[in-house]
Amino acid sequence: MASIKRRVAIIGAGITLFRRRLKETGRELSFYAAKMALEQAGITLDDVDAVVCGTAPDAFDGVHMKGEYLADGMGGHRRPFVRVYVGGGTGVFTPIAAWWHVASGHFDVVLAVAEEKMSSCFPHPQKAFTTIFDPIYTRPLGANLVWIFALEMQRYMHVHGVKKEQIATIAVKNKRNALDHPCAQLPAKITVKDVLESEVMVWPVQRLDISPPSDGAAAVVLAAEHVAKQLTDDPVWIEGVGWCLDSTYWTNRDLYYPKYVEYAARMAYKMAGIKNPPKEIDVAEPYDPFDYKEAHHAEGLMLARKGEYLKDVKDENDIFAKYGRDGDLPICPSGGLLGVGNPIAAAGMMKVCEIFWQLRKEAGKRQVKNDPRTGVAQAWGDLMQVGTVMVMRV
């Protein structure tokens, strides 16, 4: 494999509020995020060579070929514009695709925008989620999206002997972190007891284990090295990208470990020259649509050994000591999907924005205390199948 010749930086980021319902159309939300990212980068759309769109199932917004629908709101009118898509992994994958647009040498400045408007699917987006299943051998069983995560969570707990009390601490941490995020939909000060006493959805998944459906958009601006250095004193370099897709047949895989996340992470770490992830990474935003997923993904990212993310975590104090903003390794300082909300593709992009702001020391009240130099954002999706990973550095 040849070496990467062109360095690429993120030079601006933008985000909307995340809410259960927003009045703006998806095109309008995209415009807000894109415009903010451009302003933060100190450029206008005239300076943008190409646009990459990220948005998850068309069945949420309720528009076929949703990328084309969103194009002008993302700044894609009469420009090179393309939509990339890997289900829930899309949010981190979108800037990865923007990265190869720049790294290839074709473009100097590329805008990456992610949007989701799940409120269009009425009364509840869960109905749209049922269309992600195979129509012949899964949908007729009356499958619900939460089913498959419950099966995965059960398997994870069973294989490693992890307890629900431990997993619940993740929800406590992230919802509390989100109190400091101005866009957050579900920030809250809750306890492990609250999680364990919340309504059972699909055992072992309870109400407070899950992130909400949301509307929202987020965007980042990528630039080639020579442009980035002209435009900003604080470029955040994209040093590693990775993604990986496992087999469709998820009932034929052991769900206890996300091997595809590990493979994606290995690809990104190799590119970034990272050999010892927990030592070399200062802040991480693994994908947390469910609380157990943070543990699952942190293990896939090799930030902890298999089954050991929650090893010494017995209560809330333990999780903040290990993974809080002033803990050993800050994880999801943004508040994650559990706290900030989960407009699918925009939620993954939010994680990239968060690492960008953390590394630039612009995260305000959310700023982690360990003077971070290297951060990783990760998303996940499809039928528990895809991992997308981006390593950033200052």
């Binding site: 319902r21 927003l22 009045k23 703006e24 159309t25 095109r27 309008e28 415009f31 894109a34 415009k35 451009l38 206008t44 759309l45 069945a59 309720g62 002008d72 709101g73 700044g75 009118h77 009469r78 409120s119 269009s120 699917c121 009425f122 009364p123 109905k127 749209a128 269309t131 129509p135 012949i136 949908r139």
Partner: protein
Amino acid sequence: MSVERSRLPEEIKHWYGDMICDYTYTLGLAGEKFFLGLKEGKILGTRCPRCGAVWVPPSLYCPDCFEELTDWVEVSDEGTVFTFTVAHLGPDGRPLEEPEIYAFILLDGADGGILHKLGEVRPEEVYIGMRVKAVWAPEAERKGAITDIRYFKPVE
């Protein structure tokens, strides 16, 4: 290379299903103003401060300049047939009993216009460049939808 083909006639060849959900699309910030305008018998557009274009239907942003558009202007309900088609099929692809005339009407004062039907005119009389005017539904019947304009008709 070919996949082994089935030769059993009794096999189940197709599986039927759908991707149907109910959707509720908020009209958005620009759309809501536009449709409320229709209810009042007005066609509204947004003006770009940079390029000066008046976009109808209105957009919250200029697709060319990416400026946020906050300058709302009322445009005329009269305009010119920019292009038209004589429709012989309904939305489901079945033949229409009577052909309809669909047009894009470039409205006076706008850099855009409205897609709508033409009425009070026969297909063979319509031409590109023809002057037309909106025929509004009675005020009491308007509900903030495109059908608040019944159709456009030729002006003398």
